[in-house]
Point group: D3
Chain length 284, copies 6
């Protein structure tokens, strides 16, 4: 797979280009079940921030190296030994520790939220062990697909925490049933690919990780062949709609499209439709 230009300095992730205008980001710590430590999520945020404005990229696939795990989540052992900032109760008082913790959580959230803020659509492929942070990260993606062997869990209550990196904020808006969301978040129980599909958390299940990645790249390639003005506008407007009333969403949409409909892409696409040719769209 050709590496994507400009991303070779990142250490914990592989970034390649499997097809034109498509980027593929892979977490690369397979011997530790792709468990995350701080330097990794900082880097992940930087990668997605860069992809967001990279004119060569129109769609992104996010998966992980190795057969066993998308990610086992936070590397708790490391975190448990060195502790989180502000957790050492011998240092500072409760308020100062709370401030350190809040800043730490906000920085962590900001890194992970770059997946959502990336202006290009992100398709996340989950497989194998997919715990804790796996849900936080994949909930930021636009589309989730997985392999049949995926074992998901919102694992945080099992380490004495309410999940705070995005799962609890996004999951109720990502899937259908609030009863199911409460069930998996309060019990920390595992669930599999079929259940994830039934409740709408993923929209496709494939036999193997390889096939799921192939499908994701196919979907990304399809999206990348379309007008980037239309695609990126669609992502932005759907995310805005999730968080706003219908009236506010319609107002924002009308302002957004007042510039965007002036694009050559509309004319090019309509002409191609009439002439049955493949349109070419400029970079964005």
């Amino acid at each position: 797979m050709a590496p994507l230009n400009g991303y070779s300095t990142f250490k914990h992730f592989l970034v390649s280009s499997p097809s034109e205008h498509v980027a593929h980001v892979e977490t690369n710590r397979p011997n530790k079940l792709n468990a995350f430590f701080e330097a990794m999520w900082v880097e992940l945020g930087q990668i997605f921030a860069k992809l967001s404005h990279d004119p060569e990229v129109r769609a992104v696939v996010f998966s992980a190296v190795g057969e066993r795990a998308f990610t086992a989540g936070l590397d708790v052992l490391a975190a448990g030994q060195q502790g989180l900032p502000g957790q050492d109760s011998s240092q500072g008082d409760e308020a100062r520790r709370a401030t350190q913790l809040r800043r730490y959580i906000v920085d962590f959230q900001n890194s992970i939220s770059q997946i959502e803020k990336c202006e290009k659509p992100v398709i996340c492929v989950l497989h194998g062990i997919s715990l804790g942070l796996a849900i936080d990260m994949s909930s930021c993606a636009d589309i989730r697909i997985c392999s049949k062997d995926t074992r998901f869990a919102v694992k945080e209550v099992d380490i004495g925490l309410a999940a705070d990196i995005g799962t609890l904020s996004r999951l109720p808006k990502v899937v259908s049933s609030f009863s199911w969301v409460k069930d998996v978040c309060l019990t920390a129980r595992d669930f599999g690919a079929a259940e994830a599909l039934a409740v709408g958390f993923v929209s496709q299940v494939h036999e193997t990780k390889a096939k799921a990645v192939e499908a994701a790249i196919g979907m990304a390639t399809l999206i990348a062949s379309k007008s980037p003005v239309a695609v990126q506008g669609t992502k932005e407007l759907l995310n805005h709609a999730r968080d706003n009333s219908v009236a506010d969403s319609l107002r924002y949409t009308s302002v957004w499209n007042s510039a965007m409909v002036q694009s050559q892409d509309f004319k090019a696409a309509v002409q191609s439709g009439i002439k049955k040719t493949k349109p070419r769209f400029e970079k964005l």
Copy 2:
């Protein structure tokens, strides 16, 4: 079918009354796959505004004439030839064209939103080709049912546009899975009746268009037999709930019902329940 009184001047739609207190609106441009141009959506808005306050009407069915299409969407050919207002880059500068486009989009949104603002429940029946505007319009309806042959698509990205007439604003609040919504909106791929049912976009699928229309009229007739005070309040309160927090929704509900519970309909319905008779409700 008896035409509904007062709607005979409309040119692009048939408006009839298949049963007591039920109106049936049918798009009537079957030879062009019921594709829409501006005069059509202006008229559609006027029809639903009129139905909203028409005391003879308690429930509405919305479908389309012909076997092939509910609608192929915007009549792109026409739009592509004459262009949208503000798209001719030789006229005015970018800001002035943007203003023209924004006004045009807002007017278009306002016409289609009349389906949602109509105080009476609207049941939309889709069949055959159901693209683009089909999703914008049906997302405004209260209940969606379809025939087995329906081919849906959020088609806008294929003509270089983010959908701006309501699909992106309403779809995330109408169906279950945000992953699925992103999938169909970003790829513009077709989906069929079974998939629409599985994700909850439609709530019934019937063998043929005729059977779907029959079922819709049956459901509308059932709704029309109930207290219009209760039915119209239920529609208003559900739409308010969609866009507000639970606390704000409860507050609004308590004020709404402070007048509505004084209605004779409550007493009539309770008495009918006790006496096993059919209640009569006054117009609204």
Copy 3:
């Protein structure tokens, strides 16, 4: 079943403790199909307010005594005979009756909302006849499960009312399909356990009421074995997320966890994970 300490004075509900840190609340008016009158919902609100801060309780199961009904809803006959406050049109004018009604509805809503405000997770088990108030109350619970014989209905339009005790405010945020929500709320038709499961209203269906209660107690026992700091935080943050944008939810989460992550529970849970022991958590 051991009664739970401190709840013996309540008249219309049984409150027992089927396992450590689990409370079981049972509506106890089986000979009247567990239909509710005012003194009952006032008491129900008091019970859940008390459970909310009771340090012995970490999870709650809510079901009803008898085989025939979870509840037939509001005791309409009683309400119809004595009337609601403000409904006697010979007393006061419309505005004063509206004020009485609004206060009455708000008080009623406040009692039922205690189920949602209870800081401990609530698992509701429905069975048999489950009409009207059954939906209002169970929509406040965190998790809903039911037996196969359950007959649900949002029955209010059949007595000339828009449901005002919470169903219309919460249902659109609890299940998947807005089309389905509108269908059952506007037609007042019955639906069964399979349909409730398919749309995500319940997350489990069991053969009998006994088995459903057993499953609920099992789930409650599992939840009660986990860190109450984590569990109660998870409930609070999911409910906050439902009503707020993702950005606001992330901000609230970071402040919430700035205190909560300082807990011993995190350290205890991580240590237990490493040592494969069962952690002990202090009361909350």
Copy 4:
């Protein structure tokens, strides 16, 4: 004063053009203290809707004919005799009357809100008697100025009503002191020009009505000489900011200006600033 083209068919208002690109709307029922009845507010809404998109108009002055009154408010005598729709307690039940009243209030609000929705800035000049509807209407204007003799009052509680055409919705966001807002709205007491200036309800006070109108026309002429892209954007963004959080307002602003900053007006204005010439701006 030259009449403004296209507005001669309106019966209750004079619409003239005192200077280039400036419209002057005057309520013209001086012998009845400019009291309003239904046909008047319907017409007023139509006038401001038309001005909103009229490319000849860039700023609007709104005042009233005659020396005694801007308006004495609603023509209560008329309203009291014929009653409001839905007030006749012999017709329909309480719920149906409530529905009629709600529709009537919403239509009335919509007419008056056209003053706020007009995309061009509106300067309202108050003088003499300025009661009830005077506050509803002027609160919709962008800038309020008055003559020294103005007597304001939020008069509605004196006729047994909470003001419902906009005063209570907008006044808390228009002036400084919530204590003062509550004072004048709850007591219905008069207040004069000096008090209105001190609390920020008006931003200028002039000796006579003539001088106030002259000042308003001067200000409107100044605004009309500036880039209409800049002016109309400023109005829109300030009104959006009033109703949204700072974060949402910044986001909306960035989208709005993404089209608007492309305008020739920016280049023309910058060049004029450098060359000390007067810029010319195209219509909008």
Copy 5:
């Protein structure tokens, strides 16, 4: 002064009736500068909850006994000695103490918020020392007036706290200048009656406490002579407007008045206006 019927069991406050339909609540701990401890704010909440639905009461004056202080705020000495719940760092861990503190703050907020939730207008008279809780409580009132000798301060930062009983939530929406709000809240400096008037925190300043109380009773008596339907609606709609967009406020207003305009009070008030008689309004 005649005591008000039904309030004699309260221990820390005097509740009298200085004129028809007017209640006067006075904090009665003058020898301790009316400093508050927990039993006092619990009782205060109960009093205002009772006044809210008491049909004899249409307006409330809230002041304090003695010449020296409206209130010196929280009785810090007491609080400092016994500590707040959850502050003893030897008991429970940080998360459990945080939970205790949160519940304590919420209960405290709920008690004080009863002043705002009281459906009848509340006029607060401040005098002398008016620190900390004085601002929390008076910000809940509808109208604030004071005597010339009043010394206000948002004192909380001087005891190491951000004010959490309402000052920081309400003050930015009560007065004009955010720069001034930040100044007094961040520095904890004193400010006097003239400054409070200039920024709009109070709307009247009187020479002495006696005169301020007299003025408040006069204003309350005037408000109590008006339609309680109109007065209580005005309070509710202004408070709703403060927290909602103009569009949402107009919608809520139209529903509120759909019941309220049916009142006899409207007809009575209009008739009285025509006949120059004094209208009589029924209780509410």
Copy 6:
């Protein structure tokens, strides 16, 4: 003045420490009237981000070097010559230019918003020429004071723009009168120190710039002597309150203080109050 440790690499601003725990940031381009170009606002954002978490700093003064200008605003000449990104109409189409412009505006907003996001209070001192960006930046500060000679203007409409870096988003929430805000934003007219004080935009006016800076440092020193837990909490809660309903603000406050009230600062401050000593607070 001692330079503040760690800020010497910044090129366009002086950062010193005039008293313990106080930072003083000065724009340093006096020969160009402190007009801003892109590298400057990027650096300004970095400085305030660094101050936000710098434990040595508890309050910040922001002013400008030189006697003539706080800032003349954007360096339009530079911007006019090189153009803004996306303004060259020969490059890309309208949609792509709009995207470039939106990204540019968002980055610019983010830099300036760091002044508001800085967790420590910021006192802004304005003097002399204070145009355009002067209002954007100072509206982000917590407290504004100025010298008598200050000439303010929201100048953007004079260069054909609606202000998009924060003025229109924040000004309506910073000062009293919406009529005045619209006046200065739509006319771009100058206003002086007295007018700025009267409407509440600034909270102090001093004879000279030197005296204003002295006063600001005095105020900052006072704030820096107080508990940083209390001060930073107060800033956060007031900014949250500005953008949220009272109910949401109270909820957020109770969670914030559940950690913060555990601080030693509360005990230290109460003890100091009793013992009349000066408390010492740890860093934050």
